[in-house]
């Protein structure tokens, strides 16, 4: 169980995280989604006590993280797979974690095996690892104590498609056993397959959150016509709200049935007419990403 309430972080004049609130319930995978620089990592660092918040609070398993005793036993955390001493072997990194948490050494071999690192890879220094292998090692470290909560920042970065598929299965089983997972990503596609809940953040603020099914469904209708002007006029006169999508089609805030009738009444030729099925979500996310890119290039 993770509860984040009104978390805010300001650096000088800029607000990196602005009044962020969400809950991660046991048995669910919550996808924390946003473009790079949206405030995901800052929020997660505040959650585990590494960054002092300007205001707001958060709890993990009912307590502020910093008040958990031996927190590694209950909460598996992977914030940055690159944050490992390049001179240590993978096995040594896990051995240090197990020793600190008071776990038997046998867990080290079990976890190396679980994440698919060979004995030879375990003996190599982390500095020689690819990002994908570092991510696997980081996931192994987070799972060492068989925790109840997982907090993973961009764990799919650097994993190959097979690795991403493997990680999805792992997190699914973890949540199905009653665990709580908070998983961040800057890619909607990467997360929508695995997440039960979505929290979408842009520019430090939460722009949407809820059950994935609800967010993907009921998002309207996608319609496309070579006579765009005719279609727009038809929709407008029928009183149906609509927005232009980046690919030239229109997203209409109405059912397929209504859109089809309005188009037919105006005699507009349609080349596409379908339920949006998350197109709205994708559109919103693309706009967020484009917006973030504007800010970076400005």
């Amino acid at each position: 169980m993770i509860r984040v309430e009104q978390l805010t972080k300001r650096y000088g004049g800029t607000t990196a995280v602005d009044s962020v609130s969400f809950t991660v319930r046991p048995g669910t995978v919550t996808g924390f989604l946003g473009p790079n620089g949206a405030g995901k990592s800052t929020t997660m660092r505040m959650l585990v006590g590494l960054t002092p918040p300007t205001s707001g609070s958060s709890t993990v398993l009912g307590l502020p993280y910093a008040r958990l005793r031996n927190p590694g036993r209950h909460v598996g955390v992977l914030l940055d797979a690159a944050a490992a001493h390049p001179g240590r072997t993978g096995r040594e990194v896990l051995t240090l974690g197990a020793a600190l948490m008071g776990l038997p050494r046998s867990r080290v071999e079990e976890m190396l095996h679980l994440v698919g690192l060979t004995a030879e890879e375990g003996r190599r220094r982390v500095g020689n690892y690819s990002l994908g292998v570092r991510q696997r090692l980081g996931i192994a470290h987070a799972l060492l104590a068989d925790p109840e909560v997982l907090i993973l920042d961009e764990p799919a970065n650097g994993l190959d498609p097979g690795g991403i598929h493997w990680m999805r299965g792992l997190l699914r089983r973890f949540a199905d056993r009653g665990g709580s997972v908070l998983l961040s990503s800057h890619l909607l596609r990467e997360i929508e397959v695995i997440a039960d809940e979505l929290v979408i953040i842009g520019g430090g603020r939460i722009v949407a959150q809820g059950a994935k099914e609800a967010m993907l469904a009921g998002a309207g209708t996608v319609v496309r016509s070579p006579d765009a002007g005719v279609l727009v006029a038809a929709l407008t006169s029928a009183g149906l709200g609509h927005t232009a999508r980046s690919d030239g089609s229109l997203l209409v805030d109405a059912s397929i049935d209504h859109v089809g009738r309005a188009a037919a009444a105006a005699g507009a030729v349609l080349t596409e007419l379908r339920a949006a099925d998350g197109a709205g979500l994708e559109e919103m996310f693309l706009q967020l990403t484009a917006h973030a890119r504007d800010e970076v290039s400005a």
């Binding site: 660092r45 590494l50 690159a82 240590r88 079990e110 068989d146 109840e148």
Partner: protein, 261 residues
């Protein structure tokens, strides 16, 4: 691939036992030794110390072959190099960003720092004991084969001075590392700043007689020569406050309040 094993963990209370200090110290000790840089530094200290003794044995005349002189010869490289170990112990977490993991596993940052101090302290004491043993062996060898006097005049006072001298150097490294949180900057500050002060205070006439109060090496010199007495103790205390305790206090404050990235 195996499935995850056990059931969700035990209920959680804030008052339940955390990570014991002994375990933190053991892990920090291991972290000092399990990287190439740490292992090489320790091996380097041992080699340089042994080399210094051998060089001294075969270059000095027989009257210089006493336990006291041999200890002084062996302690100098240690006092110079051990602080690097202290610096690496605290700055590695920032330079390599392992602090993300360390402070997530033990959020009470002060305890992690205390464990690092204890771990480097243990290595420091072990190193001094080894030094004394090496000097003793050299003294026996000197009187047996090189016509040395083999004098053991040194006593508890000498051992105490030596331990204090090395401990202050080690603390200085830890303090500057804690404050600056960056290996390169800390090594430069440790090596350059006190030397610059020594130069300043030995070259400027008006400052020379004040050196003992401000210049670290001037105030530590009587300790190294086992002649420290009276006001020199106060001077040692004063420079310890300027050069070690104040940076340390600022560093601890910074560690407890800063963001770990």
């Amino acid at each position: 691939m195996t499935a995850l094993t056990t059931s969700p963990g035990v209920p959680l209370r804030a008052g339940s036992a955390g990570i014991p200090m002994t375990r933190l110290v053991r892990v920090e000790l291991r972290k000092l030794l399990d990287t190439r840089s740490g292992a090489w530094l320790l091996a380097g200290i041992a080699l340089v110390t042994a080399g210094a003794v051998l060089l001294y044995l075969f270059t000095t005349d027989a009257s210089g072959l006493t336990f006291e002189h041999l200890v002084n010869v062996t302690v100098l490289p240690q006092a110079l190099l051990l602080p690097l170990l202290g610096i690496m112990a605290v700055t590695g977490e920032w330079t390599q960003r392992t602090g993300l993991v360390t402070h997530t596993l033990e959020p009470r940052r002060g305890r992690v720092l205390a464990a690092k101090f204890a771990a480097t302290g243990i290595l420091g004491v072990a190193s001094v004991v080894l030094t004394l043993a090496l000097a003793a062996a050299a003294n026996v060898a000197g009187s047996a084969w090189l016509e040395g006097t083999g004098s053991w005049a040194y006593g508890l006072r000498g051992v105490g001075d030596t331990l204090l001298f090395v401990a202050l150097s080690l603390l200085q490294g830890l303090a500057v590392g804690t404050l600056l949180m960056n290996t390169a900057a800390a090594i430069v500050a440790y090596a350059v700043l006190p030397t610059a002060f020594t130069l300043l205070f030995s070259m400027v006439d008006g400052l020379r007689d004040k050196a003992g109060w401000i210049d670290l090496s001037a105030s530590q010199d009587p300790l190294f020569r086992h002649s420290i007495a009276g006001v020199e103790w106060l001077q040692l205390l004063a420079t310890t406050v300027w050069w070690i305790l104040l940076p340390l206090a600022a560093g601890v404050w910074r560690l407890l309040h800063r963001e770990i990235t």
